[in-house]
Symmetry: C2
Subunit: 159 residues, 2 copies
DNA sequence: CCCTATACATAGCCAAGCTATATATCCAGC
DNA sequence: GCTGGATATATAGCTTGGCTATGTATAGGG
């Protein structure tokens, strides 16, 4: 019998906040989580406009502007103008950004590994499935949260 | 077979950061996560000194001082002097603090519930077990992080 | 052409994190 | 019982990430 989902969700968020601190200290010396989070979103979506990035990252538009500034300064994203709409700024991660993200993930995982090294194979699989579930939910909420144009968008492609 | 534990840990932290944003927006209008996290730690440990609270919360001592100030201002913790050592400040959560924490968890869970309502029973149980695993690891790292020293990586430091 | 809506930028605030340093207390040794 | 180093917390000052409110430029329909 599972406990009430309410309780599980409360515990989930609590343990998340604590794990965030463990990860922050384990991967000290690296850049801030917000930048990695933003890069992660970009990686899963491909090039998008700044407003969409804000929605999908679950931050306000000004916060996305600020984060984008930091990412541009580090050469981790590129901003290009939409030829069809001069107001729009398209954001895409650069190869350097992808590489930096991968390096951060590797460093973080290496730092956390000792704490998780003695997990049983079953526990590892449980974690893996839980990550998949959570990613699915987070991306589902992204879809719910996008009040903008996801439907009638002609999907201006690529370049 | 499960994917490499490195990859799972990287994904775990990534999805955690994203989930944190979802939770922050879902539970809008409430107090900051750091205060709840601190109360959570106190709840699981009972009364402890400020320095211990900093270590267990995985924040620096000055940060713990600041957080404790906010919690005292809200009446959610009490500070008493250690009769045996005048330097020491003992921190304990108040009933009001416990109640506020419980209320926050309930509100947060209610806000997140719609996003998780359609999970299968098996997925719910996976989440529950994952939360238990993570809590166990987080508390294990607390034990590892005994004094001011951060637990070192097993790899040779080459900085 | 205006007029409104949209996309992003700017300004200005606050919280949370850090390092470095100051203050107060304890304790060991003399 | 003084002195000096160690320990517990406080203070100062900075950076980043988050927000709301508002400004500016462009799009697009009367």
């Amino acid at each position: 019998m599972s406990a009430d989902l309410h309780v599980i969700l409360g515990d989930l968020v609590s343990v998340n906040h604590r794990l965030t601190r463990v990860a922050a200290r384990a991967a000290r010396g690296t850049e801030s989580p917000a930048l990695w989070r933003t890069l992660s979103v970009l990686r899963s979506t491909g090039p998008i406009r700044l407003g969409e990035l804000a929605d999908l990252s679950r931050v306000s538009q000004p916060t996305a502007t600020k984060l984008a500034g930091g990412l541009v300064a580090r050469g981790w994203i590129e901003r290009t103008n939409d030829p069809d709409d001069a107001r729009v700024s398209l954001i895409a991660s650069t190869p350097a950004g992808e590489a930096a993200l991968a390096a951060w993930r590797a460093e973080l995982a290496a730092a956390l590994l000792p704490y998780f090294a003695d997990l049983s194979a079953g526990d590892v699989e449980t974690l893996e499935r839980a990550v998949a579930i959570l990613r699915d939910r987070v991306e589902a909420t992204e879809r719910m949260a996008a009040p903008h144009r996801l439907a009638a968008e002609p999907t201006v492609t690529a370049r």
